[in-house]
Amino acid sequence: MLCVKPYSMFCKIFIIPFYEMWELPDIFVQTLWEGLVGGTLYSLIALGFVLIFKASGVFNFAQGIMVVFAALSLVGLHAIGVPAILALALTVLIMLVLAFAIERVVLRPLVNQPDIILFMATFGLTYFLIGFGELIFGGDPKVMITKQLYIPTGTLSFDFAGGRVEMQKLDITAVVVASLMVAVLAVFFSKTRIGRALRAVADSHKAALSVGISLNQIWIIVWFAAGLVALVTGIMWGARSEVSFALEIIALKALPVLILGGFTSIPGAIVGGLIIGVGEKVGEIYWGPLFGRGIESWLAYMIALVFLLFRPQGLFGEKIIERV
Protein backbone atom coordinates (compact mmCIF):
# COMPACT_ATOMS: atom_id res chain seq x y z
CA MET A 1 0.00 0.00 0.00
CA LEU A 2 1.17 3.47 -0.88
CA CYS A 3 -0.14 5.04 2.27
CA VAL A 4 1.62 4.05 5.45
CA LYS A 5 2.01 6.00 8.61
CA PRO A 6 3.35 8.60 8.83
CA TYR A 7 1.34 9.64 5.77
CA SER A 8 3.14 11.41 3.01
CA MET A 9 1.79 14.76 1.72
CA PHE A 10 0.85 13.11 -1.56
CA CYS A 11 -1.16 10.58 0.34
CA LYS A 12 -2.91 13.22 2.44
CA ILE A 13 -3.95 15.18 -0.64
CA PHE A 14 -4.71 12.54 -3.22
CA ILE A 15 -5.64 9.36 -1.39
CA ILE A 16 -7.03 9.85 2.08
CA PRO A 17 -9.81 12.34 1.30
CA PHE A 18 -11.24 10.02 -1.35
CA TYR A 19 -10.93 7.07 0.94
CA GLU A 20 -12.93 8.99 3.55
CA MET A 21 -15.60 9.79 1.00
CA TRP A 22 -15.86 6.13 0.14
CA GLU A 23 -15.88 4.92 3.75
CA LEU A 24 -18.50 7.34 5.07
CA PRO A 25 -20.88 7.98 2.17
CA ASP A 26 -23.53 9.53 4.42
CA ILE A 27 -21.21 12.34 5.44
CA PHE A 28 -20.18 12.78 1.83
CA VAL A 29 -23.82 13.08 0.72
CA GLN A 30 -24.52 15.53 3.54
CA THR A 31 -21.55 17.62 2.44
CA LEU A 32 -22.66 17.52 -1.17
CA TRP A 33 -26.15 18.63 -0.25
CA GLU A 34 -24.93 21.52 1.82
CA GLY A 35 -22.60 22.55 -0.95
CA LEU A 36 -25.45 22.34 -3.39
CA VAL A 37 -27.65 24.61 -1.31
CA GLY A 38 -24.89 27.15 -0.82
CA GLY A 39 -24.22 26.91 -4.53
CA THR A 40 -27.84 27.57 -5.39
CA LEU A 41 -27.74 30.76 -3.43
CA TYR A 42 -24.49 31.82 -5.08
CA SER A 43 -26.16 31.11 -8.40
CA LEU A 44 -29.02 33.42 -7.49
CA ILE A 45 -26.67 36.27 -6.74
CA ALA A 46 -24.67 35.63 -9.88
CA LEU A 47 -27.92 35.61 -11.82
CA GLY A 48 -28.63 39.17 -10.72
CA PHE A 49 -25.25 40.20 -12.10
CA VAL A 50 -25.70 38.32 -15.36
CA LEU A 51 -29.07 39.93 -16.04
CA ILE A 52 -27.67 43.42 -15.89
CA PHE A 53 -24.40 42.55 -17.58
CA LYS A 54 -26.22 40.92 -20.47
CA ALA A 55 -28.36 43.92 -21.18
CA SER A 56 -26.00 46.78 -20.49
CA GLY A 57 -22.49 45.40 -20.29
CA VAL A 58 -22.23 46.86 -16.81
CA PHE A 59 -20.86 44.93 -13.88
CA ASN A 60 -23.34 45.94 -11.23
CA PHE A 61 -21.45 46.18 -8.00
CA ALA A 62 -24.67 47.19 -6.25
CA GLN A 63 -26.26 43.75 -6.66
CA GLY A 64 -25.13 42.73 -3.16
CA ILE A 65 -26.61 45.76 -1.48
CA MET A 66 -29.79 45.35 -3.51
CA VAL A 67 -30.17 41.94 -1.88
CA VAL A 68 -29.83 43.53 1.56
CA PHE A 69 -32.07 46.44 0.66
CA ALA A 70 -34.84 44.16 -0.62
CA ALA A 71 -34.69 41.93 2.44
CA LEU A 72 -34.62 44.94 4.81
CA SER A 73 -37.62 46.51 3.09
CA LEU A 74 -39.56 43.30 3.48
CA VAL A 75 -38.70 42.86 7.15
CA GLY A 76 -39.08 46.58 7.84
CA LEU A 77 -42.55 46.74 6.33
CA HIS A 78 -43.63 43.75 8.33
CA ALA A 79 -42.22 45.30 11.48
CA ILE A 80 -44.49 48.32 11.14
CA GLY A 81 -47.51 46.04 10.94
CA VAL A 82 -48.00 45.29 7.27
CA PRO A 83 -49.16 41.69 6.75
CA ALA A 84 -46.38 39.50 5.35
CA ILE A 85 -47.87 38.84 1.91
CA LEU A 86 -48.77 42.49 1.42
CA ALA A 87 -45.29 43.44 2.57
CA LEU A 88 -43.89 41.12 -0.10
CA ALA A 89 -46.02 42.77 -2.77
CA LEU A 90 -44.97 46.21 -1.57
CA THR A 91 -41.32 45.22 -1.64
CA VAL A 92 -41.73 44.13 -5.25
CA LEU A 93 -43.16 47.58 -5.89
CA ILE A 94 -40.21 49.19 -4.10
CA MET A 95 -37.82 47.27 -6.36
CA LEU A 96 -39.75 48.55 -9.38
CA VAL A 97 -39.52 52.12 -8.14
CA LEU A 98 -35.81 51.58 -7.51
CA ALA A 99 -35.37 50.35 -11.09
CA PHE A 100 -37.11 53.46 -12.44
CA ALA A 101 -35.04 55.71 -10.21
CA ILE A 102 -31.75 54.08 -11.19
CA GLU A 103 -32.59 54.35 -14.87
CA ARG A 104 -33.56 58.00 -14.56
CA VAL A 105 -30.90 59.25 -12.15
CA VAL A 106 -27.91 56.99 -12.74
CA LEU A 107 -28.04 55.40 -16.18
CA ARG A 108 -29.71 57.94 -18.42
CA PRO A 109 -27.26 60.76 -17.73
CA LEU A 110 -24.40 58.36 -18.36
CA VAL A 111 -25.59 56.89 -21.64
CA ASN A 112 -22.76 56.36 -24.16
CA GLN A 113 -20.13 56.68 -21.44
CA PRO A 114 -17.45 53.98 -21.22
CA ASP A 115 -18.36 50.89 -19.20
CA ILE A 116 -15.90 51.77 -16.47
CA ILE A 117 -17.87 54.95 -15.74
CA LEU A 118 -21.07 52.98 -15.35
CA PHE A 119 -19.25 50.50 -13.16
CA MET A 120 -18.10 53.33 -10.91
CA ALA A 121 -21.64 54.64 -10.84
CA THR A 122 -22.80 51.32 -9.42
CA PHE A 123 -20.24 51.83 -6.63
CA GLY A 124 -21.88 55.14 -5.90
CA LEU A 125 -25.24 53.45 -5.93
CA THR A 126 -23.96 50.87 -3.44
CA TYR A 127 -22.89 53.49 -0.94
CA PHE A 128 -26.08 55.44 -1.43
CA LEU A 129 -28.16 52.34 -0.71
CA ILE A 130 -26.08 51.49 2.36
CA GLY A 131 -26.57 54.96 3.80
CA PHE A 132 -30.20 55.21 2.81
CA GLY A 133 -30.93 51.72 4.14
CA GLU A 134 -29.28 52.44 7.48
CA LEU A 135 -31.13 55.73 7.76
CA ILE A 136 -34.50 54.07 7.31
CA PHE A 137 -34.11 50.62 8.80
CA GLY A 138 -31.23 51.09 11.21
CA GLY A 139 -28.00 49.14 11.17
CA ASP A 140 -28.86 46.27 13.48
CA PRO A 141 -29.39 42.75 12.13
CA LYS A 142 -32.97 41.58 11.73
CA VAL A 143 -34.74 38.27 11.55
CA MET A 144 -36.33 37.21 8.29
CA ILE A 145 -40.09 36.68 8.50
CA THR A 146 -39.79 33.11 7.36
CA LYS A 147 -42.90 31.67 9.05
CA GLN A 148 -45.15 34.53 8.01
CA LEU A 149 -44.22 33.96 4.36
CA TYR A 150 -45.23 30.30 4.68
CA ILE A 151 -41.71 29.09 3.99
CA PRO A 152 -41.46 25.63 5.55
CA THR A 153 -38.90 25.22 8.31
CA GLY A 154 -37.68 22.20 10.19
CA THR A 155 -35.62 19.24 9.14
CA LEU A 156 -36.12 16.32 6.88
CA SER A 157 -33.88 13.41 7.63
CA PHE A 158 -33.49 9.98 6.20
CA ASP A 159 -31.25 7.01 6.62
CA PHE A 160 -28.52 6.58 4.10
CA ALA A 161 -25.84 3.95 3.91
CA GLY A 162 -25.84 3.28 7.60
CA GLY A 163 -25.82 6.92 8.56
CA ARG A 164 -28.23 9.79 8.58
CA VAL A 165 -28.59 12.65 6.13
CA GLU A 166 -30.39 15.79 7.24
CA MET A 167 -31.94 18.35 5.00
CA GLN A 168 -33.41 21.67 6.09
CA LYS A 169 -36.83 22.19 4.53
CA LEU A 170 -35.79 25.79 4.09
CA ASP A 171 -32.89 24.68 1.91
CA ILE A 172 -35.11 22.47 -0.18
CA THR A 173 -37.42 25.43 -0.73
CA ALA A 174 -34.47 27.58 -1.71
CA VAL A 175 -33.35 25.05 -4.29
CA VAL A 176 -36.85 24.70 -5.75
CA VAL A 177 -37.49 28.44 -5.89
CA ALA A 178 -34.10 29.14 -7.42
CA SER A 179 -34.58 26.46 -10.08
CA LEU A 180 -37.98 27.85 -10.99
CA MET A 181 -36.65 31.36 -11.20
CA VAL A 182 -33.81 30.31 -13.45
CA ALA A 183 -36.10 28.34 -15.75
CA VAL A 184 -38.44 31.28 -16.18
CA LEU A 185 -35.60 33.71 -16.82
CA ALA A 186 -33.92 31.41 -19.32
CA VAL A 187 -37.11 31.05 -21.34
CA PHE A 188 -37.77 34.76 -21.01
CA PHE A 189 -34.39 35.60 -22.51
CA SER A 190 -34.45 33.16 -25.39
CA LYS A 191 -38.08 33.10 -26.43
CA THR A 192 -39.77 36.42 -25.91
CA ARG A 193 -39.68 39.67 -27.83
CA ILE A 194 -38.37 41.53 -24.80
CA GLY A 195 -35.75 38.87 -24.24
CA ARG A 196 -34.55 39.24 -27.80
CA ALA A 197 -34.53 43.01 -27.37
CA LEU A 198 -32.44 42.60 -24.22
CA ARG A 199 -29.82 40.58 -26.04
CA ALA A 200 -29.91 43.06 -28.88
CA VAL A 201 -29.21 45.97 -26.55
CA ALA A 202 -26.31 44.04 -25.05
CA ASP A 203 -24.71 43.69 -28.48
CA SER A 204 -25.15 47.13 -29.98
CA HIS A 205 -26.90 50.18 -28.63
CA LYS A 206 -27.21 52.06 -31.89
CA ALA A 207 -28.44 49.07 -33.86
CA ALA A 208 -31.01 48.40 -31.16
CA LEU A 209 -32.17 52.00 -31.34
CA SER A 210 -32.45 51.81 -35.12
CA VAL A 211 -34.95 48.96 -34.96
CA GLY A 212 -37.02 50.86 -32.44
CA ILE A 213 -35.97 49.23 -29.19
CA SER A 214 -36.22 51.72 -26.36
CA LEU A 215 -33.07 51.60 -24.25
CA ASN A 216 -34.73 53.24 -21.26
CA GLN A 217 -37.48 50.67 -21.16
CA ILE A 218 -35.03 47.78 -21.46
CA TRP A 219 -32.90 49.12 -18.63
CA ILE A 220 -35.89 49.45 -16.35
CA ILE A 221 -36.87 45.88 -17.15
CA VAL A 222 -33.45 44.39 -16.40
CA TRP A 223 -32.92 46.36 -13.23
CA PHE A 224 -36.36 45.35 -12.07
CA ALA A 225 -35.65 41.70 -12.90
CA ALA A 226 -32.35 41.97 -11.04
CA GLY A 227 -34.28 43.55 -8.15
CA LEU A 228 -36.66 40.59 -8.05
CA VAL A 229 -33.77 38.15 -8.07
CA ALA A 230 -32.21 40.20 -5.26
CA LEU A 231 -35.44 39.96 -3.27
CA VAL A 232 -35.61 36.18 -3.59
CA THR A 233 -31.91 35.91 -2.71
CA GLY A 234 -32.46 38.20 0.27
CA ILE A 235 -35.33 36.12 1.58
CA MET A 236 -33.44 32.84 1.23
CA TRP A 237 -30.11 34.06 2.61
CA GLY A 238 -31.90 36.03 5.29
CA ALA A 239 -33.85 32.98 6.39
CA ARG A 240 -30.67 30.93 6.73
CA SER A 241 -28.78 33.47 8.78
CA GLU A 242 -30.06 36.96 9.42
CA VAL A 243 -30.77 40.13 7.51
CA SER A 244 -27.89 42.53 7.97
CA PHE A 245 -25.59 44.71 5.93
CA ALA A 246 -22.93 42.02 6.27
CA LEU A 247 -24.87 40.11 3.62
CA GLU A 248 -23.64 42.65 1.13
CA ILE A 249 -20.25 40.97 0.84
CA ILE A 250 -21.81 37.81 -0.56
CA ALA A 251 -21.79 39.85 -3.74
CA LEU A 252 -18.06 39.23 -3.84
CA LYS A 253 -18.71 35.49 -3.80
CA ALA A 254 -20.53 35.97 -7.06
CA LEU A 255 -17.28 36.95 -8.76
CA PRO A 256 -15.71 33.49 -8.92
CA VAL A 257 -19.10 32.14 -9.93
CA LEU A 258 -19.23 34.60 -12.81
CA ILE A 259 -15.68 33.86 -13.89
CA LEU A 260 -16.55 30.19 -13.96
CA GLY A 261 -19.90 30.53 -15.65
CA GLY A 262 -19.28 33.44 -17.96
CA PHE A 263 -20.72 36.89 -17.46
CA THR A 264 -23.39 36.53 -20.08
CA SER A 265 -24.76 33.07 -19.51
CA ILE A 266 -27.70 32.23 -17.29
CA PRO A 267 -27.03 28.47 -17.28
CA GLY A 268 -23.41 29.41 -16.64
CA ALA A 269 -24.37 31.31 -13.51
CA ILE A 270 -26.22 28.26 -12.24
CA VAL A 271 -23.58 25.66 -12.99
CA GLY A 272 -20.84 28.02 -11.83
CA GLY A 273 -22.68 28.61 -8.58
CA LEU A 274 -23.12 24.91 -7.97
CA ILE A 275 -19.49 24.10 -8.74
CA ILE A 276 -18.29 26.82 -6.38
CA GLY A 277 -20.77 25.86 -3.66
CA VAL A 278 -19.98 22.16 -3.77
CA GLY A 279 -16.26 22.68 -4.32
CA GLU A 280 -16.08 24.97 -1.32
CA LYS A 281 -17.87 22.60 1.04
CA VAL A 282 -16.14 19.45 -0.12
CA GLY A 283 -12.79 21.23 -0.02
CA GLU A 284 -13.43 22.49 3.48
CA ILE A 285 -14.46 19.11 4.89
CA TYR A 286 -11.89 16.88 3.21
CA TRP A 287 -8.89 19.07 2.49
CA GLY A 288 -9.52 21.84 5.02
CA PRO A 289 -7.65 20.17 7.90
CA LEU A 290 -4.46 20.09 5.83
CA PHE A 291 -4.46 23.88 5.71
CA GLY A 292 -5.66 24.41 9.25
CA ARG A 293 -9.27 24.81 8.08
CA GLY A 294 -11.04 27.96 6.97
CA ILE A 295 -10.21 27.39 3.32
CA GLU A 296 -13.87 27.97 2.47
CA SER A 297 -13.28 31.69 2.32
CA TRP A 298 -10.64 31.61 -0.40
CA LEU A 299 -11.04 28.31 -2.22
CA ALA A 300 -13.66 29.74 -4.56
CA TYR A 301 -11.26 32.37 -5.81
CA MET A 302 -8.56 29.77 -6.32
CA ILE A 303 -10.88 27.60 -8.37
CA ALA A 304 -11.83 30.63 -10.44
CA LEU A 305 -8.19 31.60 -11.00
CA VAL A 306 -7.22 28.16 -12.21
CA PHE A 307 -10.25 28.12 -14.44
CA LEU A 308 -9.41 31.49 -15.89
CA LEU A 309 -6.16 30.07 -17.24
CA PHE A 310 -7.94 27.58 -19.43
CA ARG A 311 -11.25 29.16 -20.39
CA PRO A 312 -11.24 32.92 -20.06
CA GLN A 313 -14.76 33.27 -21.44
CA GLY A 314 -16.20 30.94 -18.81
CA LEU A 315 -17.97 27.62 -19.12
CA PHE A 316 -20.89 28.84 -21.17
CA GLY A 317 -19.77 32.34 -21.98
CA GLU A 318 -20.16 33.50 -25.52
CA LYS A 319 -17.18 32.65 -27.56
CA ILE A 320 -14.92 35.61 -28.01
CA ILE A 321 -15.02 36.37 -31.70
CA GLU A 322 -12.70 39.02 -32.91
CA ARG A 323 -12.06 39.99 -36.49
CA VAL A 324 -8.76 41.53 -37.29
Binding site: F188, K191, R193, S204, A207, L209, S210, G212, R323
Partner: protein, 266 residues
Protein backbone atom coordinates in the same frame (compact mmCIF):
# COMPACT_ATOMS: atom_id res chain seq x y z
CA UNK B 1 -48.38 52.22 -31.46
CA UNK B 2 -48.83 52.26 -35.20
CA UNK B 3 -47.58 54.79 -37.66
CA UNK B 4 -50.02 57.55 -38.49
CA UNK B 5 -52.19 57.02 -41.54
CA UNK B 6 -49.94 55.75 -44.28
CA UNK B 7 -52.26 55.98 -47.21
CA UNK B 8 -52.34 59.76 -47.37
CA UNK B 9 -49.07 60.10 -49.24
CA UNK B 10 -49.12 58.84 -52.82
CA UNK B 11 -46.14 57.88 -54.92
CA UNK B 12 -44.31 60.97 -56.16
CA UNK B 13 -45.48 63.18 -53.31
CA UNK B 14 -43.09 64.39 -50.66
CA UNK B 15 -42.57 61.78 -47.97
CA UNK B 16 -39.90 63.55 -46.01
CA UNK B 17 -38.55 67.03 -46.27
CA UNK B 18 -35.59 68.60 -44.58
CA UNK B 19 -35.79 72.37 -44.21
CA UNK B 20 -32.89 74.60 -43.29
CA UNK B 21 -31.19 72.02 -41.09
CA UNK B 22 -27.95 72.99 -39.38
CA UNK B 23 -26.00 70.75 -37.10
CA UNK B 24 -22.80 71.48 -35.29
CA UNK B 25 -20.61 69.69 -32.79
CA UNK B 26 -19.01 72.39 -30.73
CA UNK B 27 -17.23 74.54 -33.28
CA UNK B 28 -17.47 72.04 -36.10
CA UNK B 29 -20.35 72.75 -38.42
CA UNK B 30 -21.29 69.37 -39.86
CA UNK B 31 -24.36 70.55 -41.74
CA UNK B 32 -25.17 74.11 -42.74
CA UNK B 33 -28.65 75.14 -43.71
CA UNK B 34 -29.48 72.14 -45.89
CA UNK B 35 -32.91 71.62 -47.42
CA UNK B 36 -34.09 68.83 -49.70
CA UNK B 37 -36.94 66.41 -49.97
CA UNK B 38 -37.48 62.71 -50.50
CA UNK B 39 -40.50 61.68 -52.56
CA UNK B 40 -42.43 58.55 -51.93
CA UNK B 41 -41.33 55.61 -54.03
CA UNK B 42 -38.07 57.07 -55.29
CA UNK B 43 -34.47 56.15 -54.75
CA UNK B 44 -32.72 59.25 -53.52
CA UNK B 45 -28.95 59.35 -53.31
CA UNK B 46 -26.92 61.59 -51.04
CA UNK B 47 -23.38 61.97 -52.29
CA UNK B 48 -20.39 64.12 -51.52
CA UNK B 49 -16.69 63.92 -50.69
CA UNK B 50 -15.54 62.49 -47.35
CA UNK B 51 -16.59 64.59 -44.39
CA UNK B 52 -19.33 66.33 -46.35
CA UNK B 53 -21.92 65.56 -43.67
CA UNK B 54 -23.78 62.74 -45.41
CA UNK B 55 -23.87 60.35 -42.48
CA UNK B 56 -24.70 63.23 -40.13
CA UNK B 57 -27.65 64.00 -42.38
CA UNK B 58 -28.83 60.42 -42.12
CA UNK B 59 -28.41 60.53 -38.37
CA UNK B 60 -30.54 63.65 -38.23
CA UNK B 61 -33.32 62.04 -40.28
CA UNK B 62 -33.20 58.93 -38.13
CA UNK B 63 -33.18 60.88 -34.86
CA UNK B 64 -29.70 60.00 -33.61
CA UNK B 65 -28.68 63.64 -33.87
CA UNK B 66 -30.82 66.63 -33.11
CA UNK B 67 -30.14 69.60 -35.36
CA UNK B 68 -29.72 73.02 -33.75
CA UNK B 69 -31.74 74.67 -36.49
CA UNK B 70 -34.30 73.68 -39.05
CA UNK B 71 -36.97 71.06 -39.08
CA UNK B 72 -37.91 67.77 -40.61
CA UNK B 73 -41.34 66.95 -41.95
CA UNK B 74 -42.05 63.26 -42.18
CA UNK B 75 -45.43 62.15 -43.52
CA UNK B 76 -46.84 65.61 -42.98
CA UNK B 77 -45.77 65.83 -39.35
CA UNK B 78 -43.28 68.57 -38.54
CA UNK B 79 -40.60 67.79 -36.03
CA UNK B 80 -37.69 69.66 -34.66
CA UNK B 81 -36.52 66.76 -32.60
CA UNK B 82 -37.09 63.12 -33.30
CA UNK B 83 -36.06 60.26 -31.08
CA UNK B 84 -34.75 57.09 -32.76
CA UNK B 85 -37.63 55.19 -31.25
CA UNK B 86 -40.16 57.57 -32.84
CA UNK B 87 -38.39 57.32 -36.17
CA UNK B 88 -38.59 53.54 -36.01
CA UNK B 89 -42.27 53.52 -35.08
CA UNK B 90 -42.92 56.04 -37.83
CA UNK B 91 -41.48 53.66 -40.40
CA UNK B 92 -37.87 54.75 -40.87
CA UNK B 93 -35.35 51.91 -40.95
CA UNK B 94 -31.65 52.17 -41.57
CA UNK B 95 -28.34 50.41 -41.98
CA UNK B 96 -24.98 51.68 -40.85
CA UNK B 97 -21.75 52.55 -42.55
CA UNK B 98 -19.82 50.14 -40.33
CA UNK B 99 -22.31 47.36 -39.88
CA UNK B 100 -24.07 47.47 -36.54
CA UNK B 101 -25.45 44.02 -35.94
CA UNK B 102 -26.14 41.97 -32.84
CA UNK B 103 -22.97 39.97 -33.29
CA UNK B 104 -23.60 37.15 -30.88
CA UNK B 105 -27.11 36.51 -32.16
CA UNK B 106 -27.91 34.37 -35.20
CA UNK B 107 -28.99 35.76 -38.54
CA UNK B 108 -32.51 34.68 -37.75
CA UNK B 109 -32.58 36.42 -34.38
CA UNK B 110 -31.07 39.55 -35.85
CA UNK B 111 -33.78 39.80 -38.44
CA UNK B 112 -36.44 38.86 -35.89
CA UNK B 113 -35.19 41.77 -33.77
CA UNK B 114 -36.29 43.98 -36.63
CA UNK B 115 -39.85 42.85 -35.94
CA UNK B 116 -39.75 44.06 -32.33
CA UNK B 117 -42.10 46.94 -32.94
CA UNK B 118 -44.60 44.77 -34.74
CA UNK B 119 -45.01 42.19 -32.01
CA UNK B 120 -47.67 43.12 -29.55
CA UNK B 121 -48.68 40.09 -27.54
CA UNK B 122 -47.83 40.36 -23.88
CA UNK B 123 -44.59 38.74 -22.85
CA UNK B 124 -46.40 36.50 -20.42
CA UNK B 125 -47.97 34.60 -23.32
CA UNK B 126 -44.72 34.62 -25.22
CA UNK B 127 -43.12 33.04 -22.20
CA UNK B 128 -45.61 30.22 -22.30
CA UNK B 129 -45.49 29.98 -26.09
CA UNK B 130 -49.16 29.53 -26.08
CA UNK B 131 -52.24 30.65 -27.96
CA UNK B 132 -52.14 34.08 -29.56
CA UNK B 133 -48.45 34.57 -28.86
CA UNK B 134 -47.55 31.36 -30.66
CA UNK B 135 -49.68 32.44 -33.59
CA UNK B 136 -47.96 35.78 -33.64
CA UNK B 137 -44.49 34.25 -33.50
CA UNK B 138 -45.31 31.98 -36.43
CA UNK B 139 -46.67 34.88 -38.43
CA UNK B 140 -43.54 36.96 -37.89
CA UNK B 141 -41.32 34.03 -38.54
CA UNK B 142 -43.01 33.56 -41.92
CA UNK B 143 -42.32 37.17 -42.79
CA UNK B 144 -38.70 36.82 -41.72
CA UNK B 145 -38.25 33.66 -43.78
CA UNK B 146 -39.61 35.56 -46.76
CA UNK B 147 -36.91 38.19 -46.30
CA UNK B 148 -34.26 35.51 -45.86
CA UNK B 149 -35.34 33.94 -49.14
CA UNK B 150 -35.38 37.31 -50.84
CA UNK B 151 -31.82 38.09 -49.76
CA UNK B 152 -30.67 34.52 -50.44
CA UNK B 153 -29.17 33.96 -47.02
CA UNK B 154 -30.93 30.70 -46.15
CA UNK B 155 -27.65 28.92 -45.53
CA UNK B 156 -26.54 31.24 -42.74
CA UNK B 157 -29.84 31.30 -40.88
CA UNK B 158 -28.44 29.79 -37.68
CA UNK B 159 -24.95 31.27 -37.78
CA UNK B 160 -24.04 33.96 -35.23
CA UNK B 161 -23.49 36.98 -37.47
CA UNK B 162 -20.16 37.87 -35.85
CA UNK B 163 -18.69 34.93 -37.75
CA UNK B 164 -19.93 35.97 -41.17
CA UNK B 165 -17.84 37.70 -43.82
CA UNK B 166 -18.42 41.41 -44.23
CA UNK B 167 -20.51 41.21 -47.40
CA UNK B 168 -22.97 38.82 -45.80
CA UNK B 169 -23.14 40.93 -42.63
CA UNK B 170 -24.19 43.87 -44.78
CA UNK B 171 -26.90 41.70 -46.28
CA UNK B 172 -28.16 40.58 -42.88
CA UNK B 173 -28.26 44.20 -41.79
CA UNK B 174 -30.37 45.04 -44.81
CA UNK B 175 -32.60 42.11 -43.88
CA UNK B 176 -33.09 43.44 -40.38
CA UNK B 177 -34.05 46.84 -41.75
CA UNK B 178 -36.47 45.22 -44.20
CA UNK B 179 -38.06 43.22 -41.39
CA UNK B 180 -39.36 46.50 -40.02
CA UNK B 181 -41.35 46.88 -43.25
CA UNK B 182 -40.22 50.46 -43.39
CA UNK B 183 -41.69 53.20 -45.46
CA UNK B 184 -38.38 54.96 -45.73
CA UNK B 185 -35.17 52.97 -45.82
CA UNK B 186 -31.90 54.76 -45.13
CA UNK B 187 -28.80 52.98 -46.40
CA UNK B 188 -25.42 54.29 -45.33
CA UNK B 189 -22.90 53.12 -47.92
CA UNK B 190 -24.52 49.75 -48.54
CA UNK B 191 -21.80 48.75 -51.00
CA UNK B 192 -18.72 49.97 -49.18
CA UNK B 193 -15.93 47.42 -49.05
CA UNK B 194 -17.63 44.98 -51.39
CA UNK B 195 -16.23 43.34 -54.49
CA UNK B 196 -17.85 43.83 -57.88
CA UNK B 197 -20.07 40.79 -57.66
CA UNK B 198 -21.33 41.64 -54.19
CA UNK B 199 -21.97 45.19 -55.32
CA UNK B 200 -24.07 43.99 -58.21
CA UNK B 201 -26.06 41.73 -55.90
CA UNK B 202 -26.65 44.58 -53.49
CA UNK B 203 -27.76 46.87 -56.32
CA UNK B 204 -30.24 44.25 -57.41
CA UNK B 205 -31.64 43.96 -53.88
CA UNK B 206 -32.00 47.71 -53.57
CA UNK B 207 -33.86 47.94 -56.87
CA UNK B 208 -36.03 44.94 -55.97
CA UNK B 209 -36.94 46.36 -52.59
CA UNK B 210 -37.88 49.59 -54.29
CA UNK B 211 -39.95 47.85 -56.97
CA UNK B 212 -41.61 45.05 -55.05
CA UNK B 213 -42.31 46.65 -51.71
CA UNK B 214 -42.54 50.21 -53.01
CA UNK B 215 -40.14 51.26 -50.27
CA UNK B 216 -38.68 54.73 -50.54
CA UNK B 217 -34.91 54.58 -50.28
CA UNK B 218 -32.36 57.19 -49.39
CA UNK B 219 -28.80 56.02 -49.79
CA UNK B 220 -25.31 57.32 -49.35
CA UNK B 221 -22.81 55.91 -51.80
CA UNK B 222 -19.35 56.67 -53.05
CA UNK B 223 -19.38 54.56 -56.18
CA UNK B 224 -20.56 57.02 -58.81
CA UNK B 225 -21.43 54.33 -61.31
CA UNK B 226 -23.76 52.74 -58.80
CA UNK B 227 -25.36 56.04 -57.87
CA UNK B 228 -25.97 57.03 -61.47
CA UNK B 229 -27.60 53.68 -62.20
CA UNK B 230 -29.74 53.43 -59.10
CA UNK B 231 -30.87 56.87 -58.10
CA UNK B 232 -33.82 58.80 -59.42
CA UNK B 233 -32.52 61.99 -57.90
CA UNK B 234 -29.26 62.97 -56.26
CA UNK B 235 -28.43 65.57 -53.66
CA UNK B 236 -24.78 66.59 -53.34
CA UNK B 237 -23.25 67.85 -50.11
CA UNK B 238 -19.86 69.44 -49.65
CA UNK B 239 -18.51 70.84 -46.39
CA UNK B 240 -21.97 70.51 -44.91
CA UNK B 241 -23.64 72.54 -47.61
CA UNK B 242 -25.89 71.49 -50.41
CA UNK B 243 -24.19 72.25 -53.70
CA UNK B 244 -26.46 70.47 -56.14
CA UNK B 245 -29.75 68.65 -56.33
CA UNK B 246 -31.32 66.97 -59.36
CA UNK B 247 -31.31 63.96 -61.65
CA UNK B 248 -28.05 62.05 -62.02
CA UNK B 249 -27.42 63.63 -65.40
CA UNK B 250 -27.98 67.15 -64.14
CA UNK B 251 -25.71 66.56 -61.19
CA UNK B 252 -23.01 65.05 -63.35
CA UNK B 253 -22.92 68.16 -65.49
CA UNK B 254 -22.95 70.57 -62.54
CA UNK B 255 -19.83 72.71 -62.27
CA UNK B 256 -19.87 72.93 -58.46
CA UNK B 257 -20.02 69.15 -58.19
CA UNK B 258 -17.10 68.64 -60.55
CA UNK B 259 -15.12 71.19 -58.57
CA UNK B 260 -15.93 69.54 -55.28
CA UNK B 261 -14.83 66.15 -56.49
CA UNK B 262 -11.85 67.10 -58.62
CA UNK B 263 -10.75 70.26 -56.84
CA UNK B 264 -10.56 73.76 -58.26
CA UNK B 265 -7.53 75.37 -59.79
CA UNK B 266 -6.65 78.47 -57.83
Amino acid sequence: MRAPDETTIKAGQTLLSVEGVSLSFGGVKAIRNVSFDIRKGEIRAIIGPNGAGKTSMLNVINGFYHPQEGQITFKGIKRKKMRPHDAATGGIARTFQNVALFKSMTTLDNIMAGRTLRMHKSFFWQLLRYGPAEQEEIEHRRKVEEIIDFLEIQHIRRVPVGRLPYGLQKRVELGRALAMEPELLLLDEPMAGMNLEEKEDMCRYVIDVNNHYGTTIALIEHDMGVVMDLANRVVVLDYGQKIADGTPDEVKANKAVIDAYLGVAH
